[in-house]
């Protein structure tokens, strides 16, 4: 099938690469900062495991082309996919305008982006109007097919989906999109067909529920400390209840990321602007903002409110492992809080140091170091913000030599408190370790 994918960020590239892999002829069109020349050389705006290899191979095989001209995309695709970040709505509007102006026959648009509820219906109406004005008689259908990929496992999430949510009222369109997605829908029928609005809302609802779950677990963990309870034991008890399960049950120093947190914020924004209730979700968001500083607060109390000239080592800046992104990450809030109190920060992250520098707008500078142990040089405390695999079993002896003061604030509960305490460290996790 001939498919055009508008958007060359994570979701667009994964979609383009995966669909090319199953034999489709793909034209992918960047709509943001990514440049066609870079993309054609395999230089991608995102670090994502397996993505570069996938994209490069599909280009070599000749099934994936990058183009600049939006009209060329309209001419090429039987299916036109919009796959862009939620804040790119204006770009999507422009693309719809171009489609309305230059499409020559039937149009099937599939929107994967998290745009406000009702966007697919609105785009469809706009296209119909544009066609009517041109006197073009053709079928128009805008389908909502929200993406459920996560950074770090995006390709796998796309090719082995839990389900494919398909929002449309148009049987012909549903049939076509189902056929496009057939390779990923083999074992059992995973396609959930519903109204476009229900499909759009499902995406928001999923993230809202997960965010609420994380914040609730965090609140329970913070309070477990007050009663001298190890939250890890509670987690075992909770997760083994089949009604609850183990996913998204880890307490930590808050969630972030470019889409997950942004989706919940957008949903709250939409609800509030219309005067609808969003009390619980607002609480979830504010709870999460506060949770991003949980380690700072522990350190603040540990050092008896005096952090001036203390050296704080930070391991991990990205909002989760296997990504170079720090958008909405706890690292920004935590490090800002430390430097505002006069502490010096030495930070290390395997991938996200560049992105962190771009997001860092504070006048105080911080030291970025190229090695996790180097960060510990003369440190008064270690703060762990991301559970990169390299941090799980460090050389504690080496750490003890580097650090001036053996204290660990673990925002991802990656250590066994007994083990690190036996090594001579003071240890403060989230709902685990010492209480302060």
């Amino acid at each position: 099938m001939k498919v055009s994918v508008y958007g060359c960020e994570l979701s667009g590239l994964v979609t383009a690469g995966a669909l090319a892999q199953t034999g489709n002829e793909i034209v992918a069109l960047p709509i943001g900062i990514a440049k066609v020349e870079d993309l054609r050389q395999g230089i991608l705006p995102r670090n994502e495991p397996g993505l570069e290899a996938l994209v490069t191979l599909q280009m070599q095989e000749g099934r994936l082309h990058f183009e600049d001209d939006w009209k060329a995309g309209v001419a090429h695709g039987e299916v036109l996919i919009l796959s862009m970040p939620s804040w790119r709505l204006e770009r999507a509007e422009e693309i719809i305008k171009v489609i309305g102006e230059c499409a020559k026959g039937d149009v099937l648009v599939v929107n994967q982006s998290s745009f406000p509820i009702g966007t697919a219906d609105r785009f469809e109406a706009q296209l119909k109007l544009a066609f009517a004005e041109r006197g073009l008689v053709a079928n128009v259908s805008v389908v909502a097919m929200p993406e459920f990929i996560s950074e770090g496992s995006a390709i796998n999430d796309f090719v082995k989906p839990d389900r494919i949510v398909l929002g449309s009222h148009d049987l012909k369109a549903i049939k076509l999109v189902k056929d496009l997605m057939r390779p990923y829908n083999r074992v059992t029928d995973q396609v959930k067909v519903m109204s476009t609005r229900a499909a759009e809302y499902t995406k928001y609802a999923v993230n809202a529920l997960l965010a609420t779950r994380i914040s609730l677990v965090n609140e329970l963990a913070n309070n477990a400390e007050h009663f001298d309870i190890d939250m890890e034991e509670v987690r075992q008890g909770l997760g083994s209840d089949h009604r609850i399960g183990f996913n998204y049950l880890y307490p930590g120093c808050g969630f972030g990321g470019p889409s997950f947190a942004a989706d919940v914020k957008n949903l709250v924004g939409t609800l509030q602007s219309k005067g609808y209730d969003a009390d619980l979700l607002k609480a979830v968001l504010s709870n999460n903002e506060s949770q991003k500083e949980v380690l700072f607060r522990k350190a603040w109390r540990f050092f008896n409110t005096d952090l001036k000239n203390k050296t704080i080592a930070v391991w991990g800046l990205s909002f989760k492992p296997n990504t170079s992104t720090v958008e909405n990450a706890p690292s920004i809030n935590t490090i800002r809080a430390f430097v505002e109190q006069g502490a010096e920060v030495r930070a290390y992250d395997p991938q996200a140091m560049n992105d962190f520098s771009e997001h860092w707008t504070n006048p105080h500078s911080i030291n970025m170091v190229g090695d996790m142990y180097e960060a510990l040089e003369g440190a008064d405390a270690l703060v762990i913000l991301t559970e990169w695999k390299a941090f799980w079993n460090p050389d504690f002896k080496r750490m003890k030599k580097q650090m001036d003061n053996l204290v660990i604030f673990d925002g991802r509960n990656i250590y066994d408190p007994d083990v690190v305490m036996e090594q001579g460290f003071r240890y403060f996790g989230v709902g685990r370790g010492e209480v302060i």
Binding site: E293, R297, K298, T305, A337, E340, Q341
Partner: protein, 543 residues
């Protein structure tokens, strides 16, 4: 010889008796260009004083009086920081606080550096608190700031922050002033110790009202905070002229903001006492307010007397009080954001000029400060305007209104924006209608409905004088201009009356007797020498 026997005063007396005192305002408006002649504009502020019972001749004689009283040199002495507060032997340099280092001379110049250093310290605190980086004991950011102060340490910041409520602030501000503790206990129920910071604002740092509320706040914090040092360093800021007293109370040096004894309490919002204002609108907004006031200072210092807004307002008040025998003044803002402006001006004007001895200590033989009160105009229309229109008191009024409102989008002609625009027009219509009816009385009644008003109960004598002040909008800048205008016009009156507007001995005795009375409440035998009424009252509360 007092001013009342001076030639300029006698000339005014004669002018008044020869008809100027009798002429009705409606007659004065036969002069077609009256509104144009009797109005003046400065930057974002416009004053229409045409609805006063004055003619060009009256103004000329008033200016003669001002010159006779050496007003121009008094203005320079005030602005240069000379010792205009003679009973307390110090200058009154509130204008120096807003000079920004520019256009000042003498003592007012020499204090500029100290002022700027203190503002820089304040700016640091403000940006830290507003950025959510001032931490409470548990490490959470401060979200609520409670100003504990009374009089000048309360009213200025309260009035300003209320007036600027449309400006969004990351900090919720609260004010506690009253000694009885009710405000404190009600407020503390709603706040969280982890995220609350108290500002102790007291010029002397001995004010019992403030210190007793501060002790209650401290007790409340102690419920959650074990370490007394953390409690003080993270949850208290002090603002005072007495750093040693702040230190003694336990406020760490970094948390102290000072001002100086040459800042009168009722003029202190321009100093670090304005901290809550800066927390509300940011340090930039605070400086805009200072700049607004500075525009008025510079005008006051340079404009010729007959075009000088504070001078004109002050002289016309003198005319009204001493020659037309009007002893009451109403402050009537037509915008609910200015709710506390009347209380603020009550303090500014009555604490300054509510005096009956001149600078030489001799009793004056003429009236000085009138009774001043006020209320948001549209509300007051349903209350005391009856008295203004048909009572037996002559009252002069100041109507104050913004030309524009910035809390809705004027270009939008639908929904709430449209109705808010409509409401603003209604408020302005009421403002202009009231001053017109107060001026014209029955003459304002349209010919077509005259018959309906043919009744002694529906008679409107009119002839009540008023000023109308229009501000471009309500902003830090225009409020700065407005408050500075009233400060200076109050000073102008004091110069004519030969009194010192910068002391307030009248409030001292009561404070002293309160201490004695408190002792008597604790130990009733001490009330033996009191009058029977006070003894009786004490008995009723001692259990």
């Amino acid at each position: 010889m007092g001013v009342e026997s001076s030639s300029a005063w006698r000339a005014l007396k004669q002018h008044c008796q020869q008809g100027a005192g009798e002429v009705h305002l409606k007659t004065l408006f036969d002069q077609k260009n009256r509104a144009e002649v009797f109005s003046v504009e400065l930057d974002d502020l416009f004053l229409d004083y045409s609805k006063n019972r004055v003619t060009e001749e009256t103004l000329k004689l008033l200016i003669d009086l001002a010159e006779q009283q050496a007003l121009p040199s008094w203005i320079q002495r005030l602005l240069d920081g000379e010792q205009v507060n003679d009973t307390e032997e110090r200058p009154a340099m509130h204008a120096a606080l807003r000079a920004g280092g520019q256009g000042v001379k003498g003592e007012a110049l020499s204090v500029q550096k100290d002022i700027e250093l203190e503002f820089e310290k304040m700016a640091g605190m403000v940006s830290k608190i507003r950025a959510g980086q001032w931490r409470g004991f548990s490490g959470k950011p401060i979200t609520d700031v409670v100003n504990i102060g009374v009089g000048g340490s309360d009213l200025g910041p309260l009035m300003m922050t209320h007036a600027l409520q449309n400006i969004k602030s990351p900090i919720d501000l609260h004010f506690i002033s009253s000694i009885d503790g009710t405000q404190t206990s009600n407020l503390l129920k709603k706040l969280n110790q982890e995220t609350t910071l108290f500002v102790l604002a007291s010029k002397s740092f001995t004010t019992i009202d403030t210190l007793s509320n501060a002790e209650t706040a401290k007790d409340w914090l102690e419920e959650k905070i074990e370490d007394p040092q953390t409690l003080l360093s993270q949850h208290f800021v002090g603002v005072s002229t007495k750093p040693e007293m702040m230190t003694q109370w336990g406020i760490p040096h970094d948390n102290q903001l000072v001002f100086w004894d040459w800042v009168g309490g009722r003029y202190s919002l321009w100093s670090t006492i304005g901290l809550p204002i800066a927390l509300k609108v940011g340090m930039d907004g605070f400086r805009e307010m200072l700049q607004g006031a500075n525009i008025m200072d510079s005008h006051f210092g340079h404009a010729p007397l007959d075009q000088n807004i504070p001078v004109l307002m002050g002289l016309i008040d003198v005319w009204n009080i001493n020659f037309l025998d009007i002893q009451a003044k109403a402050i009537l803002p037509y915008d609910a954001r200015l709710k506390y402006l009347p209380s603020y001006f009550e303090q500014l004007v009555m604490e300054s000029n509510g005096k009956s001895v001149n600078r030489e200590g001799e009793a004056v033989t003429y009236k000085t400060c009138p009774i001043l009160w006020g209320e948001v105009g549209p509300n007051a229309q349903h209350a005391f305007y009856q008295l203004l229109h048909q009572g037996t008191q002559a009252v002069m009024c100041d109507f104050i209104a913004p030309v524009e409102r910035d809390d809705f989008d004027r270009s939008r002609t639908f929904g709430t924006d449209e109705s808010l625009h409509y409401q603003h027009e209604l408020a302005m219509a009421n403002c202009f209608a009231q001053s017109r009816v107060l001026m014209l009385g029955d003459a304002a009644i349209p010919e077509s409905i005259k018959q309906q008003f043919d009744s002694p109960f529906k008679h409107y004598p009119g002839n009540q004088p008023s000023n109308t002040i229009l501000l471009k909008t309500i902003s830090p800048k225009t409020l700065g201009m407005l408050v500075a205008l009233y400060e200076h016009k109050t000073f102008v009156e004091s110069v004519i009356w030969e009194i010192n507007p910068f002391d307030q001995w009248g409030v001292e005795l009561g404070k002293l007797i309160a201490k004695e009375t408190h002792a008597a409440i604790k130990d009733e035998s001490r009330a033996d020498s009191f009058d029977s009424s006070t003894q009786n009252l004490i008995k009723r509360i001692v259990k």
